[in-house]
Amino acid sequence: MMRFLRRYLWPRWVRSGRVLLGLLSVLAVLAIAVVAPVLAPHDPLAQDLSLTLRPIELRGVYPLGTDGLGRCVLSRLMFGARAAVLVALPAALGALLLGGGLGLAAGWLGGRVERAVGWLAAAWVAFPPVVLALLLVAGGSGVAMAAMLSAWPLFCRVLRAELQAVAGRGHVAAALMLGFPRGQVLWREVVPAVLPAALALLAWVAAGAVGLEAVLAFLDLGGAPDRLSWGRMLADGWEVVFLAPINLVAPGVVLFSVMAGLALLGDGLRGTMGLALPEARLADDAMAGDGP
């Protein structure tokens, strides 16, 4: 699998600006989420009611100012990354495993399994994702679970379609003919071919989950009212927008750039993965180099 990644996927990724930019923003958020306790100048929950709504003072005690309860905006942003990661990562991976697994099983096994999964996915997407998530959250499930349950049909459908395109190819039939068990053929010949689509979708779904978390937090649904999240910060900032606009602008900018980064990553992956070699030129070399 590693060899596959190196040979097949790597070369063009590194040259694609979109992928690099997206990867950079995602890694930055991950890193901040991990080291937030070390990096943050203040306890994000500590209130200082004598210093509320401070403006930006880059060199000061509160670099990005404070909110209406005198809490450090910068620290809250950093800790907010944790909330985002804790929702996006499990939601995207869970949706990949659940939806991707069902989609591949449906496409590969066909028959009754395919019909059942098809119906289930179709019925599921009949609910608009946000409404579904609202219902789930109102029903008491976590935000990550809600995001995952609203995203799995996407993986299911996309991967099943990709599989159908790949399954007709000669190399799949050839592997079957050589006597590989069907499960192995799926793993050796089909999964690597649908992986680019899956990875791209992973990035998009993660972006969606981050957005969903913000929306729910803004609406004060699912989770404690004083939790640390960019959406919550937006809601709080909204109330004091004329007194200290940074309280609205900072979480807005961060949220936007993280979602845009993820979307860019997804787009970039979709566009650049695949066979990465300039075919004609290499063929020329082959002829020039190997001729008698």
Binding site: R7, H171, A175, G179, L275, L277, A283, D284, A286, D290
Partner: protein, 592 residues
């Protein structure tokens, strides 16, 4: 005035290492009502001429000198909107893959009418004109309401022919117009093109790799290699008395349709890459020329002669290039062996058509067939005759709905699990479109030894076997580390062949193994299979479009028509004295 005239047409590819010539100052003219064939083995330079006429060169290519004029008007200097006015009206194009040229989601009628509308046909006459245009190529009116992928390739191409000629063009540029078609359809499409062309007095530029096909419909032939025209003249004269070694070796690399089966001429090495051509002095064909001499390397031979010109300083030696021997007869077999494959009354239906109008048709029915060990059998037939399905049934990729399939005496239509093992040991298949048939991310040496991966052999064992197989296929060992995308088309087919032969199956099923290859690559692969046959002793079931290839390789031929085998016999008998209409149609379409 000539319809199309190229004078010193020079096109270069801009690469990092500098400019590489793709066309090196070529000259030709197409007179009104005439057909000029541009023939080249890989078709690279010839196809660029077609693109230059449309003023749509592929990215990275640019016309640097010379002129290309249409009815006296220079195409290079023409403003873009005037050019657009010309294309589709005065100059029409026929593409190699008709299905890809039509919009997949709009009905044929809508596309045809949109085209007529652009040509200025009044709205209320559209329907009648569209029907008339289709009638002109012999396509039924019912086709108008259908989507392209519900039609056969032949029908799609005929629709495009109707479109091309709807505007009464002065010039038609046809690039491999029959590349996607079977022999019978090829005959019908070419006949339709010729009939319309003659009626309208249009000229045509035919770009193809098939010298005989070009010879059958062109008035004049220009043979290209390495970006030059090396021979140009009246078609009959070029084919009968070639004056350039390249033309002659192309002809000798093409299997004949009757008479003895000579060994095919093997051009010494594949066409040199663009890069290798850059700085060669003297005759650029010299590295591959069988009759070259020392002084050929000194000066570049000019294109000389009167009506029939060639760029060779020793044209007198061309007739001395001849085939060396004959194809050896098939190896001797004892009679009464258990057939390696036996089909008894096999049938299978498939459903086709749009979702709201599904039709179940018997794709193959009541097929009975025996193939003895070591026998080479070709299956030919029109598109949709069921030959490909027959191949997949034989390979075990499809299960029959009726009848029995026996592999080496074992009935494999009963128990699926043991059948799969029996299949893997006895039968292997080579697929067409070698690109998609090879796992794109696996190295060549891993691909050819996939059969060993099933048994989880050690990597050392696989490495050794990979070397053996590559050597057997006549491929350089260095190619083992390449990915399929880094190989040429002919090499990819060898890799697919090696993968299938790795476990030494008793029967090889090949669908479309030779389709889309040019003559030298085809000759090479044919020679390889004939050699392997004597070494490895396998039987072959070959589904094949080219009748001459079928005859060259296989002693026995099956003709399929509408899902049934309608003729079965020795290749020379079936093709020499065809009895069924389907066979006659196929023969009529083969330009030999």
């Amino acid at each position: 005035m000539s319809v199309l005239a190229a004078r010193g047409l020079t096109v270069e590819a801009r690469r990092r290492g500098g400019a590489v010539p793709v066309l090196r100052g070529i000259n030709f003219t197409v007179e009104p009502g005439q057909v000029l064939g541009l023939v080249e083995e890989a078709g690279a330079g010839a196809a660029v001429v077609g693109r230059a006429v449309a003023q749509r060169l592929p990215p990275g290519l640019a016309m640097v000198h010379g002129s290309l004029s249409f009815l006296g008007a220079e195409l290079m200097a023409m403003p873009a909107d005037e050019m657009r006015g010309l294309l589709g009206r005065e100059i029409a194009f026929l593409p190699p893959s008709p299905l890809a040229a039509l919009h997949p989601a709009r009905t044929v009628g809508a596309q045809l009418e949109a085209h007529l509308r652009r040509l200025g046909v009044a709205r209320r006459e559209l329907r009648a004109k569209a029907v008339a245009a289709l009638a002109g190529v012999g396509v039924a009116e019912a086709v108008l309401g259908r989507l392209p992928h519900h039609l056969s390739q032949e029908q799609c191409q005929l629709v495009l022919v109707a479109m091309a000629f709807a505007g009464a063009p002065k010039l038609v540029v046809a690039e491999e117009p029959t590349a996607a078609l079977d022999a019978a359809a090829q005959g019908r499409v070419l006949a339709a093109i010729q009939a319309l062309r003659r009626a309208q007095g249009a000229a045509m530029l035919l770009i193809t790799r098939d010298l005989l096909l070009a010879g059958a419909i062109c008035d004049e032939l220009a043979v290209m290699t390495g970006g030059d025209i090396v021979e140009i003249g009246p078609a009959a004269s070029v084919l009968r008395a070639p004056r350039h070694p390249y033309t002659s070796s192309l002809l000798l690399a093409t299997p004949p349709m009757r008479g003895a089966r000579p060994d095919l001429y093997l051009l010494p090495e594949p066409a040199a890459g663009e890069r290798a051509l850059a700085g060669v002095a003297g005759c650029r064909f010299a590295p591959r020329c069988p009759v070259r001499a020392e002084y050929c390397l000194r000066t570049e031979p000019p294109l000389e002669g009167d009506a029939h010109r060639s760029a060779c300083i020793r044209p007198g030696l061309v007739p001395t290039i001849v085939a060396q021997g004959e194809v050896p007869p098939p190896p001797w077999r004892p009679v009464g062996e258990v057939p390696v494959l036996a089909l008894e009354g096999v049938g299978k239906a498939v459903t086709t058509g749009p979702a709201w109008r599904r039709e179940t048709v018997a794709a193959v029915h009541d097929i009975s067939l025996r193939i003895t060990p070591g026998e080479f059998v070709a299956v030919v037939g029109e598109e949709g005759c069921g030959a490909s399905l027959l191949a997949r049934l034989a390979a075990g990729l499809e299960q029959p709905a009726a009848g029995r399939i026996m592999l080496a005496g074992v009935d494999v239509s009963v128990d699926a699990a043991s059948a799969r093992q029996q299949h893997a040991a006895t039968v292997q298949m080579v697929f067409d479109e070698a690109q998609a048939a090879l796992t794109p991310w696996r190295r060549v040496s891993d691909i050819v030894t996939e059969a060993l991966a099933v048994r989880q052999s050690r990597s050392r064992v696989r490495e050794t076997r990979a070397r053996q197989l590559l050597a057997e296929m006549g491929m350089p060992l260095a190619l083992g580390v390449r990915l399929p995308g880094q190989l040429g088309e002919a090499q990819r087919r060898r890799v697919a062949l090696a993968r299938a032969l790795c476990g030494e199956p008793k029967l090889l099923v090949a669908d479309g193994l030779f389709d889309g290859l040019d003559a030298p690559a085809q000759a090479d692969l044919l020679g390889l299979l004939l050699r392997l046959r004597h070494r490895l002793d396998f039987a072959l079931l070959l589904v094949c479009r080219d009748l001459a290839v079928a005859r060259h390789l296989c002693e026995r031929v099956l003709v399929m028509h509408q899902g049934a085998i309608v003729e079965d016999g020795l290749a020379d008998t079936v093709f020499g004295w065809p009895r069924h209409e389907a066979t006659k149609a196929l023969l009529a379409g083969s330009p030999r």
